[in-house]
């Protein structure tokens, strides 16, 4: 009798554990699929913005790499995986976006350039979300019990999406007051450094100006 109770309890415990693992795997699969959907959305938006900038500035190289990236999107949107070919096309687009011509054209079309830059920043974020999700998914799917019991199904695990999405260096996100670090300098007050201190502003707080 006792043996039976123990066996039943054990079976229930194991079944509960496995169900719980399977739920986690389902949840992670959903997260990965949402994240790759989000990443594709951002890639499309970046390429659209790039194509627009290329068109209004007559930038042939950018137009070509944007067109090449956009050619792959119908398949991606229909569910094709984010594979090495996509990575190549997106890398080429990243490189074109960092070119000197683009920076120069941006002087004349700041709104279009801003659209491209914020699109690129969102691609970098979306890629981070995607790769985080893939990493969590792979960590769980790699556990022995999951592999032996084929709990995560037979589909190959999703891959990381690795592209060079370093943002073009333009101005700082907000104005820095002085370039460079002053760590190790003798004293913290650098009132006399040229270039950052305009004429004294009017200050209306009592006690400071007296």
């Amino acid at each position: 009798m006792t043996v039976l109770v123990v066996v039943v309890a054990l079976v229930v415990a194991i079944a509960t554990y496995l169900t719980w693992l399977a739920r986690r795997l389902d949840r992670l699969a959903a997260r990965v699929s949402d994240a790759s959907g989000g990443l594709i959305t951002q890639l499309v938006a970046r390429a659209d913005a790039a194509a627009q900038l290329a068109e209004c500035c007559g930038l042939d190289e950018l137009a070509a790499s944007a067109a090449r990236a956009r050619a792959g999107y119908p398949a991606l949107l229909a569910g094709a995986p984010l594979n090495a070919a996509v990575e190549l096309a997106e890398n080429a687009l990243s490189r074109s976006l960092r070119s000197v011509e683009v920076a120069a054209a941006g002087q004349r079309f700041p709104i279009e350039l801003h659209a491209v830059d914020s699109g690129a920043a969102r691609v970098a974020l979306a890629r981070q979300f995607h790769n985080d999700a893939v990493r969590d998914q792979r960590a769980l799917a790699g556990r022995r019990v999951v592999r032996v019991l084929h709990l995560s199904g037979r589909c190959p695990p999703p891959g990381y999406f690795e592209i060079d999405d370093a943002l073009p260096l333009r101005e700082e996100p907000w104005p820095r007051l002085v370039e460079g670090s002053v760590r190790g300098a003798d004293a913290p007050g650098r009132e006399d450094r040229p270039g950052h201190d305009g004429p004294l502003g009017h200050d209306d707080r009592p006690g400071l100006a007296s």
Binding site: R27, R31, V182, E191
Partner: protein, 375 residues
Amino acid sequence: MKIGLACPYPWDVPGGVQVHVRDLAEALLAAGHEVSVITPVDDEQTLPSYAVDAGRSLPVPYNGSVARLLMGPVSAARVRRWLREHDFDVLHVHEPTAPSVSLLACMLADGPIVATFHTANPRSRVLTAGQRALQPSFEKLRARIAVSEAARRTLVEHLGADAILIPNGVAAARFADARPLPDYDDGRPTVAFLGRIDEPRKGLDVLLAAMPQLTARIDDARLLVAGPGDAAAVRARLDPRLRSRVELLGLVSDADKPRVFASGQVYCAPNTGQESFGIVLLEAMAAGTAVVASDIDAFRRVLDDGHAGRLFDVGDPARLAATLADVLTDPAGAAGLVRRGRVVVEAYDWRTIAERIVGVYQMVSGDRRVSLAST
């Protein structure tokens, strides 16, 4: 968007995370979003209309201070009901490493969940030991935000996950037009301090030790100390000659906080470490007060490497006294610090910060909504 915010610490106990959640909620509401906050609270009357009570919390000593925690069937039921009733587009949990409402919400919900990590703690035993236990909850997080580089590093080291850096905001408008407190509007050279007076890490002792040298240089210099703690004990330790120069105000109301900053020509933050972010520095700068702070990473960043406020060697009363005296005797220099401080504050204004956070929400929400996790 419909946004649910989970706050782990009691709403009516002063603390950085609570202030962050309140200001974020109010900035999101002002931007036209629907917001509900769930939080522990000791006195339910103190809750604003957008917040929901998750129950009373339990004080537990943790990591050198007192953590107030809340995990139990009653709170779990409340969190579950809150999730069910609101049908959020995104759930944003704060400090989910604390065993409280945020972690509960994380365990009970499914869908677009974002987490913000506030603590910087290079050797957290709880995080190291709890990593495996937390993983099932943390693998639901679709985006992680860290409020500081130090908090981000802690996360990378303990949980092996990266995070987006979005700093704390400051409700700049609330501080901008502050007037000095009535008794301190006399233009006497005044240094203001704000923080727990019996918490060694806040560094009040360093500042008190600097006072004799400061008053030696500036005869009528005065120190204004605002913050909770045992005032009698501090007064007893005080050098008798300083008694007339150090004013202990005790705990000040939120409404009076800007006025404390405005009562000083200088705000001093002599913290001796373990600060992940210098929100109080930004508040002082928003109030138009020059800042002198210890040279720790978080403060150096906020003060733009020392250009928007002066830094001094951590825990060094002599350097502190010299720096304070410099600022108090150089009105033009102080005005420069104040002016550059205002430029820094703009980038941290809650309107700017909330916009960046909404950008993250939009990226993770997609067409899925927050639901109750099947258990």
